[in-house]
């Protein structure tokens, strides 16, 4: 089968911006789902675990437990929402055929992927700043290293935006999208260090968590707040970087060959 050679090339900036805008319009239409879950869950977690239970826990990585929680909660929401953004948008587009509006237009695969990812990044930044605001009000914590804070938010949003594209294309039913969240993303994030430092885990569990990619993301992101890490920052950044490049490559390839799109 001959493939369309519309993989590469940024030649349609207006098209790319239009797609990003369209994705953000869609986000705004479901604004309640975007804004409230991060705020409510953060308040609940901080109240129950951070301030309640956490008052009995000594400082972790040199900060009170409630402050330790905030970066983990940001990652939790950023991962969840960026995956949700691109996977459900693509799946809905396939299901309702509206994706054809893009497919007949002169947009390349790299432009389409970039449009979805940019929208995911904007959504992630809004969520990160919202949770940061809640965290600042409740436990007076702020990042020490803003470029790492923004850099990691953008990279993780890119990674899960790309994974969302992949699963938005693979899914045959809307359920399939939720299956990946329930069985992969949520468990890995929860055991990946949102609630505790790897140092407190039993040695066997600790060894296992080194195979959990979320562990590196959360550890590197938390570094922007605490200045401390469980594994070297460079290693975490390297692993997250490689995963991002691979996921982007797969998403790009799938869109480029029109997987389940150009039939």
């Amino acid at each position: 089968m001959s493939l369309p050679l519309d993989m590469w090339g940024f030649n349609n900036p207006v098209g790319l911006v239009t797609l990003t805008k369209r994705e953000l319009v869609r986000t705004i239409k479901v604004l309640n789902q975007v804004i409230w879950p991060p705020i409510i869950t953060t308040i609940l977690y901080v109240l129950v675990f951070g301030l309640g239970l956490g008052s009995q826990v000594r400082a972790i990585q040199g900060v009170p437990y409630a402050a330790f929680l905030i970066p983990g909660l940001i990652m939790l929401q950023v991962i969840d929402q960026t995956y949700g953004e691109s996977s459900s948008s693509l799946f809905q587009g396939r299901f309702m055929l509206s994706i054809q509006e893009l497919l007949v237009s002169p947009l390349s695969a790299v432009e389409i992927v970039t449009g979805f990812i940019l929208a995911a990044v904007v959504r992630a930044l809004v969520i990160a700043l919202l949770i940061l605001l809640v965290g600042f009000v409740m436990v007076h914590t702020l990042p020490q290293n803003w470029s790492l804070f923004f850099g990691m938010t953008i990279v993780v949003a890119t990674l899960f935006g790309a994974i969302g594209i992949i699963f938005g294309l693979l899914a045959e039913k809307f359920d399939h999208i939720a299956v990946f969240t329930t069985f992969v993303i949520t468990p890995l994030v929860f055991v990946g260090g949102v609630f505790t430092s790897a140092k407190f885990l039993p040695p066997v569990v600790r060894e296992i968590s080194f195979f959990n990619p979320m562990f590196y993301m959360i550890d590197a992101f938390r570094y922007s707040f605490t200045g401390r890490d469980d594994v070297p920052l460079g290693l975490s950044l390297g692993i997250v970087g490689i995963l991002t490049v691979v996921s982007l490559g797969v998403a790009l390839r799938m869109i480029g060959m029109g997987y389940k799109l150009r039939v």
Binding site: S2, D6, V14, G15, R22, S98, E101, P106
Partner: protein
């Protein structure tokens, strides 16, 4: 052919094959549609019309063959090719998150167009298609006819030179259908090449200058509408006063006559004056009394049914 055009090809499909596993949906289709033409693309359900169209507009990959739009290969020069085509698909595929005005403006955006000129064009199209009162609504709040019109408006937002309309009047009432026909004629007269698929053969007969008929993924006819209709010629209808009992007399059967018992009418494929005189003589010689004589021009439906054997 439209006078303002040079007669180059708007669309050239060469040996297009599209296979899904063992199933061959399109089996070596070649089409040539001249710039400015109004071209009918007909065939029964499952003949490969929509698959061919999907291949042309980039919604389906090609198994083999080539497609050129105004000389631009849709694979090698896909950007240039896609800018020149507008599609109004059979199934609605509108963005449900946007108002219908934004559906037009965003679609233009995907084609790289923006600004006040695009907004003006969107408003003009909404006005022209009598959709302006619904501009702020999503497409789900439109009636069936309005959705069809929106589909056309969206296909035209980037001013394509080639419009492909996949059953644009399906499920549309007679009044609106005639309105759409006028609109399409007007568009074509202003220089837009139009390719139309339809199940209403009288629609193709009335609108299209050239017609291709596909069946089983193959083109079985591609000619001017006039020639296609001439294939069968017209028919001579001779109605008799009393019915024919039993077989047709040999002299009449020899003239390839068909007999419609319900109307007591003999149908002859020949209509030249000489043949008519001879036929009428034969009929009377066999002892029949003629009640009425008529000529019927064959319709596209007759030709279509001749070509497409089920």
């Amino acid at each position: 052919m439209n006078g303002s055009h040079s007669g180059e090809s708007a669309l050239r499909v060469t040996n297009l094959v599209k296979r899904y596993g063992d199933f061959v949906a399109v089996d070596g289709v070649s089409l040539d549609v001249a710039d400015g033409d109004f071209f009918g693309f007909l065939g029964p359900n499952g003949a490969g019309k929509t698959t061919t169209i999907n291949a042309i507009v980039g919604l389906a990959t090609l198994t083999s063959g080539t497609i050129e739009i105004f000389g631009h290969d849709i694979v090698r020069e896909w950007r240039a090719a896609r800018r020149l085509v507008g599609l109004a698909p059979q199934e609605y595929n509108f963005d449900r998150y946007l108002s219908i005005r934004d559906v037009l403006i965003y679609q233009a955006g995907y084609y790289g167009l923006r600004g006040a000129a695009v907004r003006r064009r969107a408003d003009d199209l909404l006005e022209r298609f009598d959709l302006h009162t619904k501009a702020g609504d999503t497409f789900m709040r439109l009636s069936g006819g309005m959705k069809r019109r929106l589909s056309l408006a969206r296909a035209m937002i980037h001013e394509p030179q080639l419009l492909i309309l996949d059953e644009p009047t399906a499920g549309v009432d007679v009044e609106l259908r005639i309105e759409l026909w006028d609109l399409l004629r007007e568009l074509n007269a202003s220089g837009t090449t139009i390719i139309l698929t339809t199940h209403y053969l009288e629609e193709a007969e009335s609108l299209c200058r050239n017609i291709a008929i596909v069946e089983g993924g193959k083109v079985v006819a591609m000619e001017s509408t006039e020639k296609l209709l001439g294939r069968r010629g017209s028919t001579l209808h001779v109605t008799l006063e009393s019915p024919i009992g039993g077989l047709l007399p040999a002299s009449i059967a020899a003239r390839k006559a068909a007999y419609d018992a319900t109307t007591r009418t003999l149908l002859f494929p020949e209509t030249s004056p000489k043949a008519v005189a001879a036929i009428l003589g034969d009929v009377q010689a066999e002892g029949f009394t003629i009640e009425d004589v008529n000529f019927a021009r064959s319709s596209l439906q007759d030709v279509f049914l001749d070509l497409v054997k089920h």
